[in-house]
């Protein structure tokens, strides 16, 4: 019996020691968020015609998209809002939870889908510390921090496309 016990106990200790509980919800204090506010600078009247506004999304890229915004999203290089943000409003907001921080976001944008083709995307707003939409800014997000940014959208004065 002693031999049995001396065989079983190490095995059970091994089992217990390997069981750390597994997955768990992330503690709120460890989470990292990017909170964005979108201002449509000329109000509701300045939106394009209704039939050309399919969706407005926020997308934040870890690497600059080289040829195609959707391609970068499909490669997993970007955070994005899957559903459209509210349309024909003065302002709206979005929130990304950042997984595995620290993460550097090099290009944070608002994107307008103007036809049913998911590839028909146009950048209409970029995050810029200087306020100059021709100079987009990057942002490093650290663990446990929340970052608030503002992006302005002017459909009469769009920023350049990245490619």
């Amino acid at each position: 019996m002693k031999i049995i016990i001396s065989t079983i106990i190490p095995i059970i200790i091994l089992l217990f020691s390997s069981c750390d509980g597994g997955l768990s919800p992330r503690p709120e204090s460890d989470k990292t968020f990017l909170n964005g506010k979108i201002k449509f600078v000329k109000g509701i009247e300045n939106w394009p015609p209704e039939d050309s506004v399919i969706a407005i999304r926020a997308a934040a890229f870890k690497q600059m998209p080289d040829s195609n915004i959707i391609n970068s999203i499909l490669q997993g290089d970007a955070y994005f809002t899957g559903e459209s943000l509210p349309l024909f409003v003065d302002s709206s907001g979005f929130r990304f939870e950042i997984i595995n921080p620290p993460v550097e976001l090099v290009y944070i944008t608002i994107v307008w889908q103007y036809t049913d083709d998911i590839l028909s995307q146009r950048v209409v707003g970029v995050y810029s510390k200087s306020g100059n939409k021709n100079e987009h800014s990057s942002l490093i997000l650290e663990k446990g921090q929340s970052y608030d940014i503002v992006i302005e959208v002017d459909f009469d004065d769009l920023p350049p496309m990245p490619f």
Binding site: M1, I3, I4, T7, I8, I11, I12, L15, F16, S18, C19, D20, G21, G22, L23, S24, P25, R26, N68, I70, N71, I73, L74, Q75, G76, G82, I99, N100, I118, L119
Partner: protein, 748 residues
């Protein structure tokens, strides 16, 4: 549910041709009928000399066999008069297997004594070479789960049992043998599932319907690892799983199993979705008997599971019958019927890790998935003499499913499929320089008819021929050579002729030490779902692809099996190294070159190398131990990354401690973290990075009342996932949490 608008249009032309060809060939083979005789004997337990009722006696490489009755006697009937010497394999769960060469005329009345062996070794298998053999005699790795283990673990679906098989991973509905498959919602399985040799793959998705199998009547599950298309045709890329149905005794038996349990509340407040405890319950009832020439096994089952997640409940039933009748002395007819239906919630993935037990907030909880599965098979076997027998197999496997959306809703899914199967098989022993060569050969035809809103009205058919030769020099070597030719004959599809060779070698080095090596090819024709899917999914359009080529695999394996008694303790050690090359693997792929759609494409070339080691022993006459370790390096040759959804380390351990009327059992399962997944899944599923090593312990106490009061009753207290360890069995899917259940089983 059958759709009246989409009634099946069965192309009876091809079906009729295949059946006629098979019947003609079968009748051609059935031209001799020799005078027959019987062989009888007895089987007892060594120590107590009590009759071992239910033990199986089989003649190796033949269809002959019998079961031991309540007096310990068996009779193998209708043996041809010229049948002289043969290898008899005597086996029973809980006892060691005996293989003995006997003279069927001189040894009539032979008595076998079997030793107690709580851990099963020397199992009998039929699926490695389509004939009866012991595991040690096959040139490829085979794992066996016997019915006792299925009952002890309170198994309700086959996939619950497969997670403990060395080298197997189960990713939700996908079974992967030694890394052959990742995750594809079950579509296009790379493992073929059979019941007594009949294929059970769904005709539209090419997947395994785990909820539709007669779990309660399974005698054993055989898992053959490595490409097996040389005998089993399309689908056997990673291997095959064959369920062998139990045979009845002469004494009538009614057996039952009742179980009920509850999922404990999760540790985290965020994950609690109900105040009550959700139940999981079920009932199995079975009757079996052999009356004269007629054998019958029939059963019915009900299952109800409220689920450990919100909107994840299911209810299902299953009925099964197997009927065998000896038409003549050497001619036997078997008929099978299996039916099942399920109604379940449409759980797909979680809302997020923070609410891992809830579906996405946009989920319509009124939607249900309804499915029905029916299959009917027949087998006519004819034994001509000691050297020749033939089988004719035929049958149909029907599946249907639909969700409860209105038919005009874009989210509506519906499909029904019927697969017709016909196979004529012969087995012959021919002389060759004074030795026997055992030949297995046959023709197979599969015709599939699909009527689906999701895939359209489609059909698919494959015709095949196979031949395998086994050359045996007793105590020296067994050489197996074989090959199979398959041709897809579907209209509008250009297909190559697939040739799947196989070579295997067994070398008994010394007593109880056998070396084995094998090489085999596998292939899988694209399923209807992969070829014709045309749906909208999360804003993306899934496009058909008629250009899909078959997936292929080449498996090479070397291994050894060693059985030894050390200090009067039995040990079985099994070791294998393997190398698998897989090409043209079909994966759902985002098409980003101008359209951003999804299409099934031949995109992956993979190489999987690894080793597998297993030990079974019974220490000091008191403690049973089974442990196996599989180490793999599954690589995508194109990217040199680890293949998606594969673990590199699998480790399974089982402990048994019998103590008077009780038995304590412990299962431990470890899987290393899945490193890579489809990055695009993050488009649809939250927290795809929430993946971890798997460390799961199941424990149970079994109280065998028969040992105390001679009442045939067993009570089991089962705790699956004892430590309530949280992990994902698939991205965005929390695996089953702790379930505590009580099971009562008995027979009379």
């Amino acid at each position: 549910m059958i759709h009246s608008e989409n009634k099946m249009k069965i192309n009876t032309k091809y079906l009729n041709i295949s059946i006629v060809v098979c019947v003609v060939l079968f009748l051609g083979l059935c031209s001799i009928n020799l005078q027959a005789g019987d062989f009888s004997g007895k089987v007892f337990e060594t120590n107590t000399e009590t009759a071992l009722t239910g033990a199986s006696i089989r003649i190796e490489n033949t269809q002959y066999g019998a079961k031991v009755n309540s007096k310990g006697e068996f009779i193998i009937k209708n043996l041809p008069g010229n049948f002289n010497k043969a290898n008899l394999i005597v086996s029973m769960i809980g006892y060691e297997t005996i293989k003995k060469n006997v003279d069927l005329s001189a040894d009539n009345g032979i008595i076998f004594y079997l030793n107690l062996q709580p851990l099963q070794t020397g199992e009998v298998v039929v699926s490695a070479n389509k004939k009866v053999q012991t595991v040690q005699d096959v040139p490829i790795s085979v794992s066996v789960i016997d019915k006792r283990v299925l009952l002890d673990r309170n198994i309700k679906r086959l996939d619950e049992a497969l997670v403990y098989v060395p080298g197997i991973e189960v990713n939700q509905d996908d079974v992967s043998i030694r890394g052959s498959a990742g995750f594809s919602f079950g579509v296009g399985s790379r493992v073929t599932l059979l019941i007594d040799g009949f294929p059970m793959m769904a005709g539209d998705n090419g997947d395994i319907k785990f909820d539709a199998l007669p779990i309660y009547n399974i005698d054993r599950v055989e898992v053959v690892k490595g490409a097996g298309s040389a005998l089993w045709g399309t689908g056997a890329i990673g291997g095959i799983i064959n369920l062998t149905i139990e045979e009845p005794d002469e004494d009538a038996e009614i057996k039952y199993r009742v179980f009920s349990g509850f999922y404990t509340q999760p540790r985290y407040e965020q994950w609690k979705f109900t105040e009550s405890l959700n139940l999981s319950s079920g009932l199995n009832l079975s009757y079996s008997q052999k009356i004269g020439e007629l054998s019958l096994v029939t059963s019915g089952s009900l299952y109800d599971d409220k689920g450990y997640r919100d909107y994840d409940d299911s209810r299902r039933w299953n009925i099964f019958s197997k009927l065998a009748y000896d038409l003549f002395d050497n001619t036997r007819l078997k008929v099978y019927f299996n039916g099942a239906a399920e109604n379940r919630a449409d759980w797909v993935y979680w809302n997020s890790l923070d609410s891992a037990t809830r579906p996405p907030t946009s989920t319509d909880r009124d939607i249900r998935i309804n499915s029905e599965k029916y299959s009917g098979f027949g087998e006519l076997s004819q034994i001509f003499d000691e050297k020749n027998f033939a089988l004719l197999k035929f049958g149909i496997n029907y599946t249907s499913y639909n969700n409860s959306y209105q038919a005009n809703n874009p989210e509506y899914r519906q499909s029904e499929a019927a697969s017709f199967y016909a196979d004529v098989q012969g087995v012959s022993n021919i002389g060759f320089y004074g030795r026997n060569i055992n030949l297995t050969y046959g023709l197979t035809h599969i015709y599939t008819d699909v009527s689906s809103k999701t895939y359209g009205d489609r059909h698919q058919q494959i015709a095949s021929g196979y031949l395998q030769a086994e050359y045996n020099l007793p105590d020296l070597l067994t050489l197996t050579l074989g090959g199979r030719i398959d041709k897809e004959l579907t209209e509008g599809i250009e297909s190559d002729l697939e040739f799947s060779p196989k070579i295997g070698l067994n070398l008994p080095i010394v007593k109880d030490l056998t070396l084995r090596t094998s090489l085999g090819r596998g292939f899988r024709v694209a399923s209807v779902a992969e070829r014709y899917s045309a749906i909208f999914l999360q804003g993306f359009e899934v496009l058909p692809n008629l250009e899909l080529k078959p997936e292929t695999s080449l498996s090479v394996e070397g291994g050894l099996n060693w059985q030894k008694s050390i200090w009067e303790m039995p040990f079985e050690f099994d070791f294998a190294v393997f190398h698998n090359e897989l090409e043209n693997l079909i994966e759902p792929t985002f098409v980003t070159d101008g359209s951003a759609n999804i299409q099934f494409r031949n995109v992956v070339k993979a190489r999987i190398q690894g080793l597998e080691a297993g030990i079974k022993t019974f220490l000091f006459g008191s403690l049973g131990l089974e442990t196996s370790l599989t180490l793999m390096n599954p690589r995508d040759v194109g990217t040199d990354k680890i293949l998606n959804y594969r673990s590199e380390i699998l480790w399974y351990t089982r402990l048994l401690l019998p103590f008077n009327y009780f038995e304590f059992q412990l299962d431990y399962r470890y899987k290393s973290r899945v490193e890579n997944i489809d990055a695009q899944l993050a488009l649809i599923v939250s927290d795809t990075d929430a993946r971890t090593d798997v460390n799961v312990v199941d424990a149970r106490i079994i109280f065998d009342i028969y040992k105390l009061y001679e009442l045939p009753l067993r009570l089991s207290l089962n705790v699956s996932n004892l430590f309530d360890y949280y992990y994902t069995e698939m991205v965005g899917n929390l695996a089953r949490t702790r379930l505590i259940s009580l099971q009562i089983e008995g027979h009379f």
